[in-house]
């Protein structure tokens, strides 16, 4: 039963670079929260502050109500899995896992039992005597995970743990880690810059940018209902079209879309899968290229002023480069002053 509470935490590095700016987040017991953002968004710094490897410039971090803000890492009930796995190469797998337990002065037979149990959990039973360089990349990352889990931390911290693995392995480990996390019901904070990882694993996603929260929501909500143009552009593919609203109609060049908001500039957001095309001459836009992916097709379109937008179609063979089309959005959102001001009901 562990709850992580981050309140108004900031981190200012030398030279007054603000890495994290008054960040707040509550992680519920057993929840897996993903910190998602581009590099430099402060997500890793935030995780390292929770782990105790960076000292917050301000704010409070508590675990189960106890303040740990300025506690050194060895005194925190957190377990961290590093991107580079950081296994101790001069110890074999068993010793890597047993090190923390020995520091806690557990009896040898109990250490052995715990290590074997956790190796079993990560699917590496019988690997105790291996040296770390005798393991594959995926196995090394599993050992790193096991090394944290064996100490039964209250909070598990994962810092881009799959970044050094290839695509196929990444997807498999992603599922394994999610399974283990749910089985142990361990409260987890997970840093990634890969939206696939965040969308497939997280209970909630925190989209970060420049040390601040852009949006905190369930993965499906973040995808369907982005609250800022940044989130809209960062998660999935999104056509973001700048234009003006006049009398309830969004206008960009030849494009006209009904948009019931006050007059003024606005950004129209349409997912490619929510943009239907109808052949028309001359039409609102012209087909630039059609790409057939087998299951679906992607049509690149040019507005007369050169703006490029994308549409996902189920029958790509219906369209040819050069032909004119009318655009028919089925779901739209609109942003003004970096905030969502309209979203169509679907």
């Amino acid at each position: 039963m562990s709850v992580l509470k981050i309140t108004d935490v900031s981190k200012v590095f030398a030279g007054n670079t603000v890495a994290v700016d008054k960040f707040s987040l509550d992680v519920a017991d057993g929840e897996l929260v993903c910190l998602l953002g581009p590099s430099g968004s402060g997500k890793s710094t935030l995780l390292r502050m929770v782990g105790g490897f960076e000292r917050p410039s301000g704010g409070v971090i508590t675990i189960d109500g106890e303040e740990i803000t300025h506690l050194s890492p060895e005194k925190r009930p957190t377990g961290m899995v590093f991107q580079s796995h950081a296994l101790w190469t001069h110890m074999n797998v068993f010793k890597n896992l047993a090190f923390g337990l020995k520091l806690r002065r557990l009896p040898a037979d109990e250490i052995k039992r715990k290590v074997e149990a956790v190796l079993e959990l990560v699917g590496l039973a019988g690997y105790g005597n291996r040296l770390t360089h005798q393991l594959s990349g995926g196995q090394q990352q599993r050992v790193a995970l096991a090394r944290s889990l064996v100490l039964e931390p209250k909070i598990l911290l994962l810092d881009e743990p799959f970044a050094s693995l290839d695509q196929h392995l990444r997807e498999r480990l992603r599922e394994e880690v999610r399974d283990i996390q749910q089985r142990l019901k361990i409260t987890t904070l997970f840093v990634t810059h890969g939206q696939d990882e965040a969308l497939s694993m997280a209970d909630r996603i925190v989209v970060m940018r420049d040390g601040r929260t852009e949006q905190i929501d369930r993965p499906d909500v973040v995808y369907r209902d982005p609250k800022t143009p940044f989130v809209a552009g960062f998660i999935g593919t999104m056509n973001l079209i700048e234009g003006t609203v006049s009398n309830g109609v969004f206008i960009r060049d030849s494009l006209r879309v009904p948009l019931p908001i006050a007059d003024g500039p606005a950004i129209l957001a349409i997912r490619p899968e929510s943009l239907d095309l109808v052949a028309a001459e001359p039409g609102m836009a012209r087909v630039h290229r059609v790409t057939d992916y087998g299951t679906h097709g992607l049509v690149d379109l040019d507005l007369p002023d050169g703006e490029r937008i994308k549409s996902m179609v189920s029958h790509p063979d219906l369209f040819k480069a050069g032909q004119g089309v009318d655009l028919n959005p089925t779901a739209i959102a609109a942003f003004r002053d970096k905030m969502q001001v309209y979203r169509s009901q679907t």
Binding site: G52, E74, T78, M80, F82, A86, W88, L103, S148, L151
Partner: protein
């Protein structure tokens, strides 16, 4: 398929030329020394010795001055290496992992000794030792040889400590190890092979250090190389020098080969400014 078969290797004339010349110039002299060590009679102009034997090993090893020089040299090298390790390794760790004012200037100050011709520097130091009555004393020689090991024993371990992945140390903090435990259980074992090589190099280097020992130590302190100088100059029996050369060189050669393997040729050259 024939096109894929390996063509006959082109004769590497340059390489063969270098190999032959270097073999003659580098291996031959050492072979001659080795032969002399096991020779009892070798009169000019015979190409091979008339009589092989171990007589001069017995004679050399029976000499009191050889044993006292060997003991003294081993003592000196041990004391210098230990002292050097004790004062340099913590400093190396500080340079590698801590920040303090003047860090860079102090770090590169260890280069100062290399900006000057070595023997000139030794003379300047000897002039100071003369005022301090350190000439001809054990500790005078220790000090002069200690200075010779400083740069080596700082720079190589600094690289070793810097080479230890910080995430490994953080991971150890994460599982509950305090700073000292992290140093002892993670940082030191990770850096150990390189540090060991540096210690080995400084031991061997000190053992063969001739100039400082001769300039500062004479006449009271007679190390092995200083004894060899007198054997060579006085030419009493040719074989003494040969026996000593073989006896002393083989173990140090093995040690140095090990050190170079750990540190690597590239780093070696880089350390010398390559």
């Amino acid at each position: 398929m024939t096109a894929l078969a390996p063509s006959r290797p082109r004769l590497d004339a340059t390489g063969i030329g270098f190999a032959i010349v270097l073999t003659i110039v580098i291996v031959l002299p050492l072979l001659v020394v080795g032969t002399w060590a096991f020779t009892e009679v070798w009169r000019y102009p015979n190409v091979v010795p008339q009589q092989f034997g171990l007589r001069f090993w017995n004679q050399t090893l029976g000499r009191a001055d050889v044993w006292s020089a060997l003991t003294l040299s081993l003592q000196l090298s041990t004391v210098v290496t230990l002292l050097s390790a004790v004062i340099c390794l913590p400093a190396a760790y500080a340079f590698a992992r801590m920040s303090f004012p003047g860090r860079n200037i102090l770090f590169f100050s260890f280069l100062a000794g290399h900006a000057f011709p070595k023997f000139g520097l030794l003379i300047a130091i000897a002039a100071i030792f003369l005022q301090l009555n350190l000439i001809g004393t054990f500790w005078g020689v220790v000090l002069i040889q200690l200075v010779g090991t400083l740069m080596f024993m700082i720079w190589i371990p600094v690289a070793a400590f810097q080479g230890v992945d910080r995430r490994m140390e953080e991971a150890a903090r994460d599982v509950g190890a305090g700073p000292f435990r992290v140093f002892w259980s993670i940082t030191l074992p990770q850096a150990a092979p390189t540090i060991f090589a540096a210690v080995l190099l400084s031991f061997v280097g000190t053992f063969y250090e001739t100039e400082g020992a001769w300039l500062i130590g004479a006449p009271g302190i007679r190390t092995m190389p200083v004894l060899m100088i007198s054997f060579i100059n006085n030419q009493m029996v040719i074989q003494y020098g040969a026996v000593l050369s073989v006896m002393l060189w083989v173990p140090s050669f093995i040690a140095l080969m090990f050190a170079r393997r750990v540190i690597g040729g590239g780093a070696f050259a880089r350390g010398f400014g390559g």
